[in-house]
Amino acid sequence: MPKYLLLKHYRGGPEPHHPFPPMDQWAPEDVEAHMAFLRHVRELLRENGEYVDAHALTPERSWVRYGGPDAAPVTTDGPLPETSDLVAGWYMIDVDSYERALEVAAYVSSEPGPGGEPLYEWIDVREVMSGAASDD
């Protein structure tokens, strides 16, 4: 069974279906509905035997590279352009087919937003190469 990474983004990706404010500006009941949906997705994937892993990332980001011999690592300072891609988190799923991965991603994208309307959020679907490096 192939594994897929479904990436959610803070920013970047195709033009959003429609703009929406950050979640802390939603009505409290819409926040609850959204969080309940995320829990439901996780439970559903577990029940289906398709769940591998899910994690959220903080929006803080540092870029770092080797600084050369006897030099400290080089990090970027200063904010990055607002257009750069910023991953917010992922689901890793183990499914029968690419089609099923798209189906799950589209379902994730239907998560309720302000007023209970679907967010239509773009989900980045990436196939994970087989032959895992991990021995766990």
Binding site: M23, D24, Q25, V31, R39, T58, D136
Partner: protein, 402 residues
């Protein structure tokens, strides 16, 4: 007692034996690494053999089998050199008290040459008797990673003299790390930390060991009310106090009082006793409104005074104190306290969360919403982030409704 316990393979009784047997082997001059491996093999054999043939003396049985495994291991050429070194090591007199063994093993596992993550892992394995799988699950890392961490920690101890008394302060810090890691994982590390702290108080007169045990009990008592049925964090002032564990509170208060009674002006209470006293005052209030904030502030003053540079060394204490100032002297005074901390702590999510709380106390709901939203953006724990997003949405909704 143990004879009966092992017939049904009482896990608690078996685990209680682990530190005693291990300590005896190490005191005899055996290598920590080799002794721990041998004991793990003996435990596996015990699980296999005991259900059919319960031993008369489980302690002696485990010691004998582990010793046999050690002898087997020595037959390999690689192990020979270590044995020769061990022969020269000065053997310590055999201990008779189980408490001594626990303390001795805790000093080994919390050796200052080990990194905190290794101290925690080794303590849970060698003193707590947890399996590598259980420890890996508790910290959400692959079992192979945790096995390697433990193996490297034991490697670091190889050849170290383990007969010097260690630093109780390090042991206390490690146990507190175990406790605080215990709220999220699949293994109940909080209960395990309390069990180990209880053992530690039997082994040492150190008042801070009792302070730590009291602190853990008094915080753990509130755990049943900390999350609602949907897994949402419930802040202290909105918790259903009827869900608090009154037995644990009573024990925590008793442990704390007996310790504070032994303190003098020359030897004032340390940080764990002070934090336990603050926890006790929260536990003692039948409603949030009845919280004795002046007393809590007085204890925070003592806590902050323990450090030369509290803002950098004790950020949780100075932020907790700012909240207490807000409740005693008014929200504006509390906010002025946080202004003083902004330069050093302004990047932390907790600084913003405290500001949100104080703004709300002052009735400035829009400012509270903005502070909670900023705290949510900086949070690193999912449950806490979700809680802060809810606080922000709630504050903004009530500001809009005005």
């Amino acid at each position: 007692m143990l004879d009966d316990g092992t017939r049904g393979l009482d896990e608690g009784a078996l685990r209680a034996l682990v530190p005693r047997v291990l300590a005896a082997l190490i005191r005899r001059g055996e290598d920590f690494d080799a002794a721990e491996d041998a004991l793990q093999q003996a435990l596996l054999e015990a699980l296999r053999v005991w259900p059919e043939h319960p031993p008369r003396d489980p302690h002696a049985w485990l010691t004998t089998v582990a010793t046999r495994r050690l002898v087997d291991a020595r037959r390999s050429e690689a192990a020979r050199q270590r044995r020769e070194e061990a022969t020269y090591a000065e053997p310590r007199p055999a201990a008779t008290e189980a408490g001594d063994d626990t303390l001795f093993l805790l000093f080994c596992c919390c050796h200052p040459d080990l990194a905190p993550a290794s101290q925690v892992a080794l303590t849970l394995r060698a003193v707590g008797g947890l399996t590598t799988r259980e420890i890996a699950d508790a910290f959400y890392v692959p079992e192979a990673t945790m096995a390697q961490r433990i193996s490297r920690a034991k490697g670091t101890l190889r050849g170290r003299r383990l007969d010097q008394p260690g630093d109780v302060a390090v042991v206390l810090r490690v146990l507190y790390l175990v406790y605080t890691a215990g709220h999220a994982g699949r293994v109940d590390l909080a209960a395990e930390a309390i069990r180990l702290a209880r053992q530690l108080t039997l082994a040492t007169e150190e008042p801070e060991a009792r302070g730590l045990l009291a602190l853990m009990l008094l915080n753990h008592a509130r755990l049943p009310a900390r999350l609602d049925a949907g897994g949402r964090i419930v802040p202290l002032d909105r918790q259903d106090r009827g869900l608090w564990d009154t037995r644990e509170i009573a024990e925590g208060v008793h442990v704390l009082q007996s310790t504070l009674a032994t303190q003098t002006d020359d030897r004032p209470p340390g940080r764990y006793q002070i934090e336990a006293a603050i926890a006790a005052l929260h536990d003692d209030a039948t409603s949030a409104e009845e919280t004795d904030w002046p007393q809590i502030l007085a204890w925070y003053d003592d806590l902050v005074a323990l450090s030369d540079d509290p803002v950098r060394q004790e950020p949780a204490a100075v932020l907790g104190r700012a909240v207490a100032v807000g409740h005693v002297h008014g929200a504006a005074a509390g906010l002025r306290e946080t202004d003083r901390l902004r330069e050093v702590l302004g990047d932390r999510h907790r600084w913003h969360a405290v500001r949100g709380h104080l703004h709300e106390l002052a009735g400035d709901v829009p400012a509270a919403g903005a502070a909670y939203a900023e705290a949510a953006r900086r949070a690193t724990d999912v449950a806490e982030r979700d809680h802060l997003v809810r606080q922000a949405a709630r504050a903004r909704a009530s500001a809009a409704a005005r």
